[in-house]
Subunit: 558 residues, 2 copies
C-alpha cells in the first residue's frame, strides 16, 4: 500500500538503525512530502555472524518512498555513520550533505566502489543552513574523536528537533573547535520539540577527558623511550595523528605512516587542511633502516589486533621491513573495542615476546573516548530543554539509562520515548508517541552478496563450525533399487581422517545395515531412506564421540 | 630414550601449563627419583578452537615417568587447577593431596566420570606437612576467591621452593582465615631457593580489595530494592554465597538457589562446614510464587551470559517458573571474563528489556578479584626473599611484568627466569637456568574425543564457518569414462539454496564445461580432474560472490 502525504500530519521519526545496538546508525525524519535521512552507517559483524564482512541497515522503507527523499545528512565520517553509503546508494541517490572532511572520507570510500562520479556531494560548514523541502537544517559543530563532526537542528512547521550525532564537550580540543554550545542554547531558548542524543557513554560518570591529555601523555612518553615508538590508532582520528606528529617533532623523531587507511586518511586530511605535517618529518620504509632507533616514530593501524594488519605481523615477527627490538615501545592509542579483547591481548603478548614494552589505555592516558559522559549529557539536556527526549546510538540498556538521566534533569518519564529500530514516533500537536512499526533490520554483506546470506545459512555455518560435516554417498540403480555405489563417507572438520579410517568404516557398516533393512519394494521414498541414514549416523556419532556434525546423505539414483 | 635419575642432580621444574596462558595450570617438580605434580587444570576454549569443549594439558612427559610420580598436589578447587583431573587420571593415578573443600569439589567432578572410587584422595589442612620421597611439602593457607586455598612449600635436599597457587592478601577475609604470612616469613628467614608466584593481576596497581566489601555492598543494595534480588556469581565462590545469604537474612529475604553447580557446590560446602545457611531461609521453586517480591533473593549461576544458563533464559523471558518484572534487580557479582563481554552485554540488554535494573562490577563494588595486585606481590617477594624467581599463571606479558616487579624489589634480572610451557628449569648449586624443552601443549576435548581433534580439523571448521561447503558429485563409468551421473551440487552455509537454484545451475554448467575438455583418453588421473573442478569453481565463486567455501568434488567411478 502506497502511503500518501495526507495520511498523517505532524513530524515523524523512523528509527532505521542504531537504536538498540551500537553501529548501523540511520534515521529518517518525515514531514509532509519530505524525508531527510540522518546518517547511513554500517556495523561490524557480531561473533554469531560467521563469515559476514559488514552489516548494513535494511532500507526497504526508504526505497518505497525514494521520490520523497530530499537528502542524506551526515553528522561525521565514522564508518558507523557513513559506511553503508556504497550499498544504499545503489537503491536511492539523493544529495548528500556533510562537512569537508566527512565528504572527503565518503568520496574515498565511493571511489573503491566506483560510485564517486554518480553522487551529489554537497559540502557544508558548521552554522550553515540548508533548505530541504519543509525542513530547514542547521549544522552545529561538535567535538568528537574525528574532526569536523556536527549535530543537526531540523526545523519544520511542527517544531525543531535536534540530533546530536556522536559528540563530547572537550573544553580544550586539539583544533580549538569547541562544541557549539551557544547554538544549542539558542535553540533551547526558542524551544525544542525533541532531542535525539548519543547514548554510547551513558554508563560513564563525570566528564570524558579532553583529547589534549593524550598529546600530553605522548610528550611525556616519547622522550623517555630509548628505542622506536610505534603508535597504533584509528586512521580516522586525525587529532590523534596530529598529536603524535607534534610529540615526534618535539622529541626529535621522524614519522613513518603505516597501513593503507592511515596513509589514505592522512593524505585527505592534509589536503583539506585539517592536519599539519611538515613534509620533512615524514619518512618512508626505505629510510627506516638508516635512522637511529631513537629518531623513529611510526603511526599505524591495527590497534585491535586485526588478523591481517601489519601491526600484528610486526608483532609476530612476520613483517619484511619492520623488525621490533628490545627497547622499542608500542602505544595502543585506542579503545579496547568490546569483543576484541582477546585479539588485543594476543597482540600485546606477541609484542612482549619481541622485547617491546606496550602502553595502553588501561595503564596510561594514551586514549580518551569521543563520546559524552553523564555530566556532559546532563549539561546538554539542560541547555536544549527539549519537550521530548529520544535516546539514540546505544544498546537497549544504554537507551534505558539515558532515559533515566533525562528524567533526572527534568524531562518527565512520559516524554522520554524509548524507541527501538523500526519504531515510528509521531510528533503532532503537543503529543508524541510510537505510532507504527516499519520493517527494518540487519542486512548481511558477505563478499559481493548483499542480503543473500540469512539466518538459515548462518545457522548452517554455526553448525558446521562446531562439529564439521559428514557426507554419505549411496548410488542406487533406479530401476532395481540395488546399491551400485558406496556407501562412501567423506568428512571435513569432524574427525582427522588419516587417523579415523577404522571409525569411518564402522560408520559405513552402520549405513549398510540400515540399507539392508530397506527392501527394494519399499524403497519408493528415497527421502525416508536419507532421513533414516541421518538418524542412525547421528545416533552413532553422538554415542561414540558426543559430536553432532552436519550429516548430508546423498542418494544418487542412476 | 628413558631418562634415569642419575642424568642430572639438582631440582627440576617442568612447566606443563599456565606459563604463557591463563588456565591449564600444571607443573612438575623433580628431585632424584621423585616427581610431584602441582595442580592439574583445564582451560576453556579460545574463540579459534571451534567446537572444542575444554582444553587439557598434554601430559606425555608424565606418562613416560609415571612410576616416579609421588603425588598430585592441589592448591585449590578452581577448574583451571583441578579440571583436567578426570582426563589425566586415566593415564596416571598417584595419590591426590588437597584441603577438604578442594577434594570435595574434585570428588564431585570424578563422580560424573565414574572415577571417584578409583582414586586415592588425601585430605590435608594448612600447615600440614607430607613426605613424598625426597620432598617434604607444607600446605600454607592463602586467601583467594574460593575457600580453603593453599600455597605450597616444597623442601628437598637442593633447597626450598614456594609455589603460591592463586592468592591475594585480604586483611579481612569473610571466614577470618588470613593468608599465612607468618609461614611465608619463616621460610623467607631460613632461605628460599625459588619463588613461583601468581601473575594474574600483575597489571593492577595497589591492593586488591577485600571480599568483605562485596558483602557491604550487598547489605546496602538489598534493602533498597523494591522487587526481587537476583545475584549471579560463580558457584565455587563460597564466601560470595555466604555474603549473599547474610545480606538476604538482614533484609528479610528468603534464598532460592538456582543452577545445577550452585546447588551442588553449596551442598558440598555446607556438609563440610564452610558455609552456614539456616535451613529455614532456603526456599525452592515451588515456594517462589507464594512469596512477596521484596522477600525473595535468588543466587544463580550464568553471570557470563552462558547460552544455556537459566539466567539467560530468565532474561529472554524463556524460563517456565521465573518471570522477571519491573522493579527486580539483577546483580552480576563476578568478573567480566575477557572474551565474554559480548554475551554479558547481551544478557544485560535482555534484563533491561524485562524491566529489571542491573548492577555490575563496573558501577558498584559487587565483585572483587581473588588475585594479588602489585603491592601485595611486592610484599610477598619481600617476605620470601627468594634467590630465584619464576613468574607463573599468566600470559606472556604478565610473566614479563611480574619479572619486572621482582627486579624492583631486589631480585636481580639474571635470577628472574622467564619460562614458558615446556621449559625445564634446573636448580643446581647456586645456579638456575632453562636446560631443556619437553613436549607439552594443549589437548582438545571435543565430546568424548580427547586429542583426536587437531589443527587440520580446526582449520576445516574455521573454513567451513566462514563460507560453508559445496559438494560436487560426478558419477563416471569406470570403463568408458562417460559421465553417468551429475554433476550435482549440494551446499550448506554457502548460499541460501531456495533462492539460488539458478546460480547453482550456472556452477554445474561450469563444471560440465570443464569436464568436456577432459577427453576420456586423458581421464586416467581422477585426482587431476577433481583439482581442476575445484579450481574452476573456486574462481567462479570468488569472482561472482567473493566467497571461498570448502569445495569437495566427489568423482564416483562406477
Amino acid at each position: 500500500m502506497e502511503e500518501t502525504s495526507t495520511e498523517s500530519t505532524g513530524l515523524k521519526f523512523v528509527a532505521l538503525g542504531g537504536l538498540g545496538e551500537i553501529g548501523l546508525n540511520m534515521a529518517a525524519f518525515e514531514y509532509g512530502d519530505d524525508i531527510v535521512i540522518v546518517d547511513c552507517g554500517l556495523m561490524f559483524p557480531e561473533p554469531y555472524m560467521l563469515g559476514i564482512d559488514v552489516v548494513i541497515p535494511d532500507i526497504g522503507y526508504l526505497i518505497e518512498r525514494a521520490d520523497r527523499i530530499r537528502a542524506i545528512l551526515l553528522t561525521h565520517g565514522h564508518e558507523d555513520h557513513i559506511g553503508a553509503l556504497p550499498y544504499v546508494l545503489r537503491d536511492i541517490n539523493p544529495p548528500i550533505y556533510g562537512t569537508a572532511l566527512t565528504l572527503g572520507f565518503v568520496k574515498e570510500k565511493l571511489k573503491e566502489f566506483e560510485l564517486d562520479q554518480k553522487v551529489d556531494l554537497r559540502v557544508v560548514k558548521p552554522r550553515d543552513t540548508v533548505q530541504l523541502g519543509s525542513f530547514e537544517v542547521e549544522f552545529i559543530r561538535v567535538a568528537h574523536s574525528i574532526v569536523d563532526g556536527c549535530a543537526l537542528a531540523l526545523s519544520c512547521p511542527e517544531g525543531v528537533v535536534i540530533h546530536t550525532g556522536d559528540f563530547k564537550l572537550d573544553q580544550t580540543p586539539v583544533d580549538g573547535e569547541l562544541t557549539d554550545l551557544a547554538t544549542f542554547s539558542r535553540y533551547g531558548e526558542k524551544g525544542v520539540l525533541a532531542l535525539f542524543a548519543d547514548s554510547t557513554n551513558i554508563e560513564r560518570e563525570g566528564y570524558t577527558l579532553s583529547e589534549r591529555l593524550v598529546g600530553d601523555a605522548f610528550e611525556e612518553i616519547f622522550p623517555a623511550c630509548a628505542g622506536r615508538v610505534i603508535v597504533a590508532a584509528f586512521s580516522s582520528n586525525i587529532h590523534r595523528v596530529q598529536q603524535v606528529v607534534r610529540a615526534a617533532e618535539k622529541s626529535g623523531r621522524k614519522v613513518l605512516l603505516n597501513g593503507r587507511s592511515m596513509i589514505g586518511n592522512v593524505q585527505i586530511a592534509r589536503e583539506l587542511g585539517y592536519l599539519k605535517i611538515p613534509d620533512d618529518i615524514l619518512i618512508d620504509l626505505k629510510e627506516l633502516p638508516r635512522l637511529p632507533k631513537e629518531q623513529v616514530c611510526m603511526i599505524t593501524t591495527g590497534s585491535q589486533g586485526e588478523p591481517r594488519s601489519s601491526l600484528i605481523r610486526i608483532a609476530m615477527d612476520d613483517h619484511k621491513q619492520i623488525k621490533l627490538e628490545r627497547g622499542d615501545t608500542v602505544i595502543l592509542s585506542s579503545r579496547f573495542i568490546p569483543g576484541n579483547e582477546k585479539t588485543i591481548s594476543d597482540l600485546m603478548n606477541h609484542l612482549y615476546r619481541r622485547g617491546a614494552e606496550v602502553i595502553h589505555e588501561k595503564v596510561s592516558e594514551v586514549h580518551v573516548s569521543g563520546h559524552a559522559s553523564q555530566e556532559e549529557l546532563k549539561l546538554l539536556h539542560n541547555l536544549v530543554k527539549p519537550r521530548f527526549f529520544v535516546p539514540v546510538h546505544g544498546e537497549y540498556r544504554h537507551l534505558v539509562k539515558h532515559s533515566q538521566l533525562a528524567q533526572k534533569v527534568g524531562t518527565p518519564e512520559e516524554r522520554c520515548i524509548l524507541a527501538v529500530n523500526g519504531d515510528v514516533i509521531l510528533f503532532a500537536g503537543d503529543e508524541a508517541c510510537i505510532v507504527d512499526q516499519v520493517s527494518t533490520g540487519r542486512v548481511f554483506v558477505d563478499g559481493k552478496g548483499v542480503g543473500d546470506v540469512g539466518n538459515v545459512v548462518l545457522k548452517d555455518r554455526k553448525h558446521l563450525s562446531e562439529d564439521g560435516m559428514v557426507v554419505v554417498i549411496i548410488g542406487i540403480n533406479q530401476t532395481t533399487g540395488e546399491i551400485i555405489y558406496g556407501p562412501d563417507i567423506v568428512s571435513r572438520g569432524f574427525v582427522f581422517e588419516d587417523d579415523s579410517q577404522e571409525y569411518l568404516e564402522e560408520a559405513k557398516k552402520v549405513v549398510l545395515d540400515t540399507l539392508a533393512l530397506v527392501t527394494p519394494e519399499v524403497m519408493t521414498d528415497w527421502n525416508e531412506v536419507k532421513l533414516e541414514v541421518r538418524r542412525v549416523l547421528r545416533r552413532l556419532f553422538n554415542k561414540t564421540l558426543e559430536r553432532r556434525p552436519v550429516i548430508l546423505p546423498l542418494v544418487l539414483e542412476m
